[in-house]
């Protein structure tokens, strides 16, 4: 086994340690839950009030089942625990991390990875970060990377300025839920002109059953700066539903570049309902690289608001829906300035009863000039039971704006599999190779360590699904 890869494969992730939580907000969600979380976290009043307002919005908003999967109705909010933590501050030293948490992350390969190629690491276990460290040279340049809980206390001036500004609480039911009970997630600030050469990495680990993880990530890349952030997510497989509902806000100031890479490998009991959006100012570039493997239902449509002239947004996404899974993913590009460009490339693979849905939103208002969008969505079906849907909503008004959209659906044919088998590959190997071929051009855009891991995850998924 290649130890260079990031250990987030299904087999490795499927384990848990007994819970020993000092702080437990209990089951169910009421204003008292919010007060408990706010008190434990020792938060300022404005945040507690923000949370209460969010809870009211969450309660008032209906489930979006008029367009989304009815499976959402199977989330029983009263059965979920909203805050679980040990009351310990995240440590900068790996040795001080509690033993069972340390064992968990070591099995997932975190310390080695950090030594090898990362500029900073943040590791979250259930509700709070347990470990947070940034390389000294990177920290000395003024780069900040810490958990949102700490950032709120240590950098309130930057935090408050941007928090909730890209994704308002009322954006959707789950952004409201996150705003009410958020905990953990990364806060990153990159000062003007600083180019962080190595990626910053976060790990999100759910250990507890009947639990909801609601991290809140905020990344601000100041003028002319550059940063790449990568996140990996795992959870053990429990019989009951687990909820992951994050909010991720990115701000790319003038000329800044942000790349945000996600490789999720949630177990098949996780509802993964995530809101991710960026604002790109003048000449800024934001690129989401999003790979969704696992989970029961994922709903995620990373977006970029192209706010400044010549801003550029990109979403590259891969979704693999295995038997019994539904990947409902896509992208949003809101053009709000002249000469802004956006690119969406989405590839989905549905296996067995798996279902992949692409939803795209591209909006170019009438008064803008010189805007361009390219959207490509390709679906691959493996066996006749799988299902794929494409809902591209492209509104382009005015003249002098260019849009192109291509979509395709293909199947791996029996002839293709026989041909490969005749050359000596097993059916599963042939499937894996075909699927890897299908996503190959996108996988190559991921950092090396992730592309190797992605290939392995696909191989494992295919082995499990064939004979």
């Amino acid at each position: 086994m290649n130890t260079d890869t990031i250990g987030i494969e299904r087999g490795i992730g499927d384990f848990s340690y007994p819970e020993q939580h000092e702080f437990d907000a209990g089951t169910g969600l009421t204003p008292a839950t919010i007060d408990y979380i706010s008190r434990v976290k020792d938060e300022p009043d404005w945040i507690r009030e923000f949370r209460h307002r969010a809870l009211a919005i969450f309660a008032a908003k209906p489930m979006p089942t008029h367009w989304a999967s009815r499976d959402l109705e199977n989330i029983i909010f009263d059965n979920i625990r909203y805050y679980l933590a040990n009351g310990q501050r995240p440590t900068r030293s790996w040795d001080e991390v509690p033993d069972d948490v340390k064992k968990t992350f070591e099995r997932l390969g975190i310390p080695e990875q950090e030594r090898k190629f990362l500029a900073g690491v943040e590791a979250q276990f259930d509700s709070e970060a347990v470990y947070s460290n940034i390389k000294k040279a990177v920290g000395d340049q003024g780069v900040i990377m810490m958990g949102s809980t700490e950032a709120l206390k240590e950098h309130p001036e930057i935090f408050r300025k941007w928090f909730g500004k890209v994704i308002p609480t009322s954006d959707n039911k789950f952004s409201a839920l996150n705003s009410a009970v958020f905990s953990g997630g990364s806060f990153i600030y990159v000062p003007p002109g600083v180019k962080v050469r190595h990626p910053l990495q976060a790990y999100f680990r759910i250990n507890a059953e009947n639990f909801g993880q609601f991290e809140r990530t905020l990344i601000i890349a100041d003028e002319g700066s550059e940063v790449m952030y990568m996140e990996g997510c795992t959870a053990p497989k429990f019989e009951t539903a687990t909820l992951h509902s994050a909010v991720v806000e990115l701000v790319a100031m003038k000329g800044a570049k942000i790349q945000y890479v996600t490789v999720q490998n949630w177990s098949a009991n996780v509802f993964n309902l995530v809101t991710k959006r960026a604002i790109a100012h003048e000449e800024a570039e934001v690129k989401w690289l999003d790979c969704n493997i696992g989970s029961r239902l994922t709903m995620k449509y990373p977006g970029v608001v192209l706010k400044g002239r010549k801003a550029r947004g990109e979403v590259i996404s891969i979704a693999l829906a295995g038997d019994g899974q539904h990947q409902d993913t896509g992208a949003k590009m809101i053009h709000a300035a002249d000469e802004t460009t956006s690119n969406i490339v989405s590839k989905s693979i549905s296996i067995g009863q798996g279902r992949a849905t692409y939803r795209g939103l591209v909006h170019v208002p009438k008064h803008l000039k010189g805007c361009k969008n390219n959207t490509e969505c390709d679906a691959l079906l493996i066996n006749s039971k799988s299902r794929t849907d494409t809902y591209p909503a492209i509104t382009v008004r005015g003249t002098g704006n260019a849009v192109q959209h291509e979509a395709s659906v293909s199947q791996i044919s029996a002839e293709q599999i026989f041909y490969m088998q005749q050359r000596g590959l097993t059916e599963a190997q042939a499937m894996s190779l075909s699927v890897n071929g299908f996503v190959n051009d996108l996988v190559r855009q991921f950092p090396m360590e992730y592309s190797v891991e992605l290939k392995r995850l696909i191989d494992m998924e295919m082995e499990g699904s064939v004979g």
Partner: protein
């Protein structure tokens, strides 16, 4: 027994019998040709031997050096030394030729053993040079956008790299111009030797000018109806198949 032996083979597709009691023996070191009119079951024979799931063997045996391969998966037959050069090679989008060949070779190694990359590339380049294939084909997706001739050369490249004991070439000449035909034939001839057997399926005699067979069989209605020396091919070219049809008569059971 060092041979590919086909004994009393019956094959159906969609419950229609296409191969009806076919017998054939290709000893190691020999090249046999099967000729026959369209619809005589030539391609069905190669697919059935390869283990294509659409073809059902209802009776008979296919022995590869004495082992009956009919119960094996297609990949097990391949690893046992069987190779099919396809009449219509399949495109595999996104998978490079080099990666495909590597995967095929890797699949033949014992678990835990890794294919030696530099050796692999050296060998592949040498074989590609023989087939006058540009190096750019290593990074192109398998057969995708290849011309008919390029696809057939690619089949021969795979055969040269995988070094099968028995190869079945299904209408390898179809879609080839004369220059490509010569290159492909030279590629096959280079692989001929005492340790390999070939079954060349063709509709036309032309290919057999370049790949000269030891034995020629004529197939009609799912059976071998005539076997003879290489001159039999010339006779068929000259007279067509009709005289044989008359001579053999209507097959029984129709």
């Amino acid at each position: 027994m060092s041979a590919l032996e086909i004994q009393n083979l019956h094959v159906t597709i969609d419950s229609k019998e296409i191969i009806r009691g076919l017998n054939l023996e290709i000893p190691k070191g020999e090249v046999h040709a099967i000729m026959g009119p369209n619809g005589s079951g030539k391609s069905t024979l190669s697919k059935a031997i390869g283990g294509h799931p659409d073809y059902t063997v209802t009776a008979g045996e296919v022995l590869l050096d004495g082992t009956n391969i009919l119960g094996m998966e297609p990949e097990e037959r391949a690893r046992a030394g069987l190779f099919l050069a396809f009449q219509y090679p399949v495109e595999i989008p996104g998978v490079s030729n080099a990666n495909f060949l590597r995967a095929a070779l890797q699949a033949r190694l014992p678990e835990g053993e890794e294919l030696e990359a530099t050796e692999f590339y050296a060998q592949m380049y040498a074989e590609m040079d023989k087939l006058e294939m540009s190096r750019s084909f290593t990074s192109r997706a398998v057969n995708e956008g290849f011309s008919g001739g390029e696809k057939k050369r690619n089949e021969i490249l795979q055969m040269a790299m995988l070094k099968p004991t028995y190869s079945i070439l299904d209408e390898t000449d179809s879609g080839l111009d004369i220059d490509a035909l010569k290159i492909v034939s030279a590629g096959v001839n280079a692989l001929r030797g005492p340790d390999r057997g070939f079954l060349v399926i063709t509709h036309y005699q032309r290919l057999l000018d370049y790949i000269v067979p030891d034995v020629v069989h004529v197939m009609m209605d799912g059976r071998i109806v005539r076997t003879g020396p290489k001159e039999l091919a010339l006779e068929l070219e000259e007279k067509g198949y009709d005289w044989l049809k008359e001579e053999v008569g209507e097959p029984a059971g129709v």
